[in-house]
Symmetry: C2
Subunit: 76 residues, 2 copies
């Protein structure tokens, strides 16, 4: 995995964090996945260690949970 992945679910906390993250990280280094629109990716996110959204899974595998929008268990 060479890019970071930013998982979110469209909640206000997520959208605010998304804008902030995209201001910090060059857009070609991060992929944005909206789990509300694409719930087939929820299992991928969980397997990466994502427990809540918004979360940023880094290229090195570390997960940064940023603020708290929703538990990943509540997205199914």
């Amino acid at each position: 995995m060479s890019k970071a992945i930013f998982y979110h679910a469209g909640c206000p906390v997520c959208v605010s964090a998304e804008q902030d993250i995209l201001n910090l990280i060059p857009s070609d280094q991060v992929e944005i996945i909206h789990l509300g629109n694409d719930n087939s990716k929820i299992e991928n996110a969980k397997n990466s260690g994502v427990k809540s959204v918004p979360a940023l899974v880094l290229a090195n595998g570390n997960v940064l949970h940023i603020n708290f929008g929703a538990s990943i268990e509540d997205l199914k």
Copy 2:
């Protein structure tokens, strides 16, 4: 305020997040403050809206609480 400020307290969660954040953000755009070593800054952090560390206070005033190391109330 033109730079982001990354507040931490030296805990393992903080140090891990610090390394990750510094990989993402150019180092000239972020100031690092260790509240464990410099507790005179705790009030500044609280006034910026920091509730736990590690946290990143952005130039636009938004606060990103990243994972959870310690409550700011526990640092005094």
